[in-house]
């Protein structure tokens, strides 16, 4: 399952960068390029993926693209400010976007997306049967991986519609807050292996073929399962699997289509991380995985970087001076204030040094990955103004101006 994680020795063949050492990531060039049709933001939980996706989408729209952003779980106030707090699973225009482009946004409703797939694939009668099955209900609302799969499904839908109707020329996708950034890529595979699994096949057999196909081994396990879980469990499971079987083919095909869409030229992956060891380790796994699967990596976004200290004063010098001020019991009424300022400065220098070391390690292992560093804002982002500021930081214009260069 995790074989891809041990591949640190492989060189990364990724990204549009051609040189050995990639420079900074040019976000504006990426979003301005009409060839960029899909941007997928991925990374481990709590690194600011949702904000990054929304900020990127807004910036692209205000620079003239027709954009839709698919978010998974935005903070309530951000969702409100974008007008997407209603879960209706359809992109809605965001009010207040400046310039000639446009921005639609939607929040993914996992269960509803799943239901819609079932309804579109099965006869009304069969669909009804599936939707009422307890296994389906649990699977569609809590299966680890459903969210990832449904995000992909929705991406596929929006992409097909955009192609057919010319509604959007850029789709920005936020990925679910999973334990591992890889879950997003593994979800369709996991679903497929579930559908093709030996156990599922066996469960289907009695309903389809002659009962004698039930092997001795199989009755052994059905007996065991009945003992542990009760007969109803197995019966429900069997009904569920049988009912879903007819729509399986469609499921699998769509998952594969979306997966190949992710490999196509117009797609760009942005790996989002915080300057923390764990988040950057996840980012490394992801970069390696994208490279193995020949998926187009545009670059790394390091969010929430500590602000750079001013001046040249080192942490040690600052601490020494602070200590000296404390010990001399200076008569100055501001001595403790000044010592405090020096300690804060030392703290800031140390934070920035540690973060830089972590980024350098990443860059040494993956020199081809262009990177942009976004400093931490003082407050949370919950309106278009805040998104514009983040967009400006992503694009390298600190004032948040959106005008194309």
């Amino acid at each position: 399952m995790s074989t891809s994680r041990s591949s640190a020795h492989r060189p990364s063949r990724v990204g549009p960068a051609t040189g050995r050492q990639a420079g900074p990531l040019d976000v504006d060039a990426l979003i301005d390029d009409p060839g960029t049709g899909i941007i997928v933001c991925c990374g481990s939980g709590g690194v600011g993926k949702t904000t990054t996706s929304a900020a990127l989408a807004l910036r692209a729209a205000e620079r003239g693209r027709r954009v839709v952003v698919l978010t998974i779980d935005p903070a309530r106030r951000l969702a409100q400010s974008m007008g997407i707090e209603e879960l209706d699973n359809t992109p809605r225009p965001v009010v207040g976007v400046e310039g000639t482009g446009s921005l639609d946004a939607m929040m993914l409703d996992m269960k509803r997306t799943f239901d819609e797939v079932v309804l579109s694939q099965a006869s009304p009668e069969k669909a009804k049967q599936i939707l009422a099955n307890p296994f389906y209900i649990a699977l569609s609302s809590s299966f680890a991986g459903t969210q990832e799969y449904m995000a992909m499904e929705k991406l596929g839908q929006i992409h097909r519609d955009a192609q057919a109707q010319g509604t959007y020329d850029l789709i920005v996708v936020d990925t679910p807050p999973s334990r591992s950034a890889l879950d997003f890529l593994d979800a369709p595979e996991r679903l497929s292996s579930f559908l093709d699994g030996r156990f599922v096949r066996l469960l289907l057999t009695p309903a389809k073929g002659p009962a004698k196909l039930m092997t001795a081994g199989f009755s052994l396990i059905t007996n065991a399962l009945t003992r542990i879980l009760g007969a109803q469990f197995l019966k429900d499971l069997q009904t569920f699997v049988t009912a879903l079987d007819t729509v399986f083919g469609g499921f699998r095909q769509r998952a594969q289509q979306t997966y190949s869409l992710l490999k196509a030229d117009g797609t760009a992956f942005l790996v989002v991380a915080a300057p923390e060891a764990d988040a950057l380790r996840e980012a490394e796994y992801f970069v390696e995985r994208l490279s193995e699967d020949d998926m187009p990596l545009a670059g790394l976004v390091v969010n929430r970087a500590s602000p750079e200290p001013a001046g040249e004063l080192s942490a040690d010098e600052a601490m020494t001076a602070a200590e000296r001020l404390r010990r001399t019991a200076s008569a100055s009424p501001t001595a403790s204030l000044t010592a405090g300022l020096l300690r804060l400065h030392a703290d800031r220098v140390r934070m920035v040094q540690r973060e830089r070391t972590l980024r350098d390690r990443f860059a040494t292992a993956h020199p081809q990955v262009p990177t942009v560093v976004v400093p931490a804002l003082a407050g949370d982002v919950h309106d278009l103004g805040g998104l514009r500021t983040v967009g400006g930081l992503l694009g390298g214009t600190a004032d948040g101006s959106t005008s194309p260069a």
Binding site: A138, F143, G197, L229, A274, S330, T334
Partner: protein, 333 residues
């Protein structure tokens, strides 16, 4: 003494990126006082414990990890670690309760184990929590196993925690009868008892605090016992309230600071003082935001504990330092 004298099972959850695993580890160190055995469990397959304590990846087997934080007289307990994965837990469960033997192997061969642990919804959580339950409820019948005085669970994130612990609810509708249903009901009675506490880790930012408040409401709705809120990564408090206000207003006494710096032995240029003042203003703004979030945490009406942000990152020494702070504040004793 400790705020949680009756608690045997400490469940530690938190939003991603808030340092939930760090806090779980520090809590385990803090709980391991003289003569006590503490078990630190992880269930998310991340090997975070191994990384944090710099040991080889943990197997599905209890391992002695390290000694606890020493008490003032030097007494210390032992912290053990366990990495729980659903597949191993299922196989162990089957052999323990059913002596399945051949059938157990058949299950594996037919892909049922994989099916049950990765796909069948809810079953995975029941298996993971089931093993935790076993470690907490262990009694003398099992002579080879250690009886733990406390178990600390590095649990799934806040958004999933109520669902994760509410196992009988997750199974409802799937397994309506049968032994696994009965067992999940027994597990629930532990998780809902005063012997369990679910602690939530947060940082003083809007979204994590909001998620903590939502998590507490969800836990209460599921009748699961809410423990404390651990506020992690707080900024240093080197300036007092008056100086912070002046820093924000830009009214700090520039001239005096400059002469203080000279007293401190620093060759002062105008850029240096400007830089420090800019840093001070930025810091003061962030501290003000922290204070507003701290007020919200105080309104949650649960005990709260604070841990500092470690500028240089967290190493093993840092974990003991955090453990000491948790003990000082009464989260453990």
């Amino acid at each position: 003494m400790s705020d949680w004298p009756k608690v045997r099972l400490h469940v530690v959850t938190g939003k991603g990126g808030t340092g939930k695993s760090t806090v779980a580890s520090a809590l385990a160190l803090a709980l391991a006082t003289r003569g006590r055995n503490v078990l630190l469990c992880e269930v998310e397959g991340r090997q975070g414990i191994a990384r944090m304590f710099d040991v080889d990846p943990l197997p599905y087997q209890e391992r002695r990890l390290t000694t606890g934080l020493p008490e003032p007289d030097g007494g210390r307990g032992v912290v053990h670690a366990l990495h729980i994965d659903a597949e191993s837990a299922l196989l162990e469960y089957l052999s323990m309760y059913y002596r399945l033997g051949r059938a157990g192997k058949a299950l594996d061969r037919f892909g049922v184990i994989e099916f049950a642990t990765t796909i069948a919804p809810g079953v995975r959580d029941v298996l993971l929590t089931g093993k935790v339950y076993e470690a907490v409820q262990r009694n003398r019948r099992n002579k080879s196993a250690i009886e733990y005085d406390a178990v600390v669970l590095d649990a799934p994130p806040t958004g999933r925690i109520a669902q994760f612990l509410n196992v009988s609810n997750e199974l409802a509708g799937l397994a309506k009868v049968g032994p696994i249903k009965a067992q999940s009901d027994t597990m629930m009675s532990l998780f809902r008892s005063p012997r369990t506490a679910v602690h939530l880790v947060t940082v003083l930012e809007e979204m994590p605090v909001q998620e903590t408040a939502d998590g507490i409401a969800e836990l209460r709705a599921a009748r699961l016992p809410v423990g404390g809120v651990v506020v992690n990564q707080i900024r240093p408090r080197d300036l007092d309230a008056a100086d912070l206000a002046a820093a924000r207003a830009g009214t700090l006494d520039r001239g005096r600071i400059e002469s203080d710096l000279a007293d401190g032995g620093i060759a002062v240029g105008p850029d240096l003082v400007d830089g420090l003042l800019v840093e001070a203003a930025d810091h003061a703004e962030r501290r003000a935001l922290e204070d507003s979030q701290r007020a919200i945490v105080a309104g949650l009406d649960v005990p709260s504990y604070e841990l500092p942000r470690m500028a240089g990152g967290i190493d093993l020494g840092g974990l003991y330092e955090l453990a000491g702070l948790l003990r000082e504040q009464g989260m453990a004793s």
